[in-house]
Amino acid sequence: MDETPSLIQIKGIRDGLLITLGSAAWPVLVAAFVKNVDERSSFFHGARVALNVGSNELRVAELSGLRDQLSERGIALWAVLSESLITETTAQNLGLATRLSKPRPEPTREVVKELPADAAKWVKGPLRSGARILFEGNVVVLGDVNPGAEIIAGGSVVVWGRLRGVVHAGAQGDEKAVVCALEMVPTQLRIATEIAVSPKKQGKIQPEVACLKDGQLVAEPWQNLGRN
């Protein structure tokens, strides 16, 4: 009758439904999907849906449009899987998951991976409350990291701005990871398995570097490093 079955594949998974969209123009896919939902509204109502969009490059308006249409039909879109980096970024910006298995920051679970020194994620700030950066390598933020924001990095974290949120460097166990910030006033700082809170600061603001020394998490002014 029509070609919707080939455009849309539905599969039950542990976390709800996984819907894989075929290859067609985005509006066509959305129309087909929404039609499919409307025809079987009782089946879909209340469902949690993960969407595999293949290589479609989607912007905020497209993805949030579909999310709103689904939410009007009682369907919660919680994840978007994509081969496109642009789409992944869009999904993350909208607070959607981009992987099916929930990430477990279990530091002991994985063997420390040797990452190439240049594996860094570049993030344009400010990172506001609720933002979450999860990356296996190093993370560089240009701008402030506000309270309520969280960075979890396998490697080191450099913040060119004020660090007031939570940072976990060396999250997979790398004890050589460091955290640098122009102003170091984190809510909480973690390197590998060590956790510290920032002491009440007085005196002048200066760039600092935090690292592990003899198993202790310490922060030092940037100037002193060269002289030691």
């Binding site: 709103d68 506001r128 409350s129 609720g130 309270p147 309520g148």
Partner: protein
Amino acid sequence: MTAKVVTVASGKGGVGKTTSVANIAVALASRGQKVTCIDGDIGLRNLDVILGLENRIVYDLVDVIEGRCRLRQAMIRDKRLPDLYLIPAAQTRDKTAISPSDMVRLCDELRQEVDWIIIDSPAGIERGFKNAIAAADRVLVMTNPEVSAVRDADRVIGILDAEEKGPAALVINRLDPAMVKRGDMLSVEDVLDLLAVELIGIVPEDENVIVASNRGQPLALEGKTKAGQAFQNIARRLMGEQVPFLELETQNLFQRLLGRK
């Protein structure tokens, strides 16, 4: 006429969204603008009370969306300001009674008839908030000078950026200059330092606000109080005027003279 849709949001509850919506709407209407405010807080409506229009509600927002009445029938005209209308929220339903695209359709219909549509967002960042920002051309984020309210404002600004509804404009409400001076309250600079967005209004703490809300007579109806003036100034800034901030006037003459040098 093509209306501008302005949504007032905050994340945290109790910072003064509804009061501000009422006062900004009143201020705009008193400047000859045609204004409709929409109460987006379905299930916990308040805007009608603060505007003093509670006893005139026949139809509400959900009635319009679900086609039980025409848009015009749900628009309550304010007797004091003939260019001010309210579309009240339904009290017996919840946020899921309407959707973001319903709001977009409704506002598109209204746009032709008025200059301004001011939407009062509910607290939170869920469905009600998403409904309230769906049609917005501009979002005013309200905060109080306290850490928890600023934190929530930061979250809301982040979401607005992600949804490409930014850049948000900030209103700092309930500022007490004396407390700031004693170092017991965050200053305007402290708040801006964290949030890094454009500031569109500073409203001082004023007990008249509570009296006015209880009476259903928004302060901005008479521009005599400090808070009323602050809301008038926000309205003027929305209309594109350059208006200096009231805050400066709380410095004493001596400080101002020194500052000028």
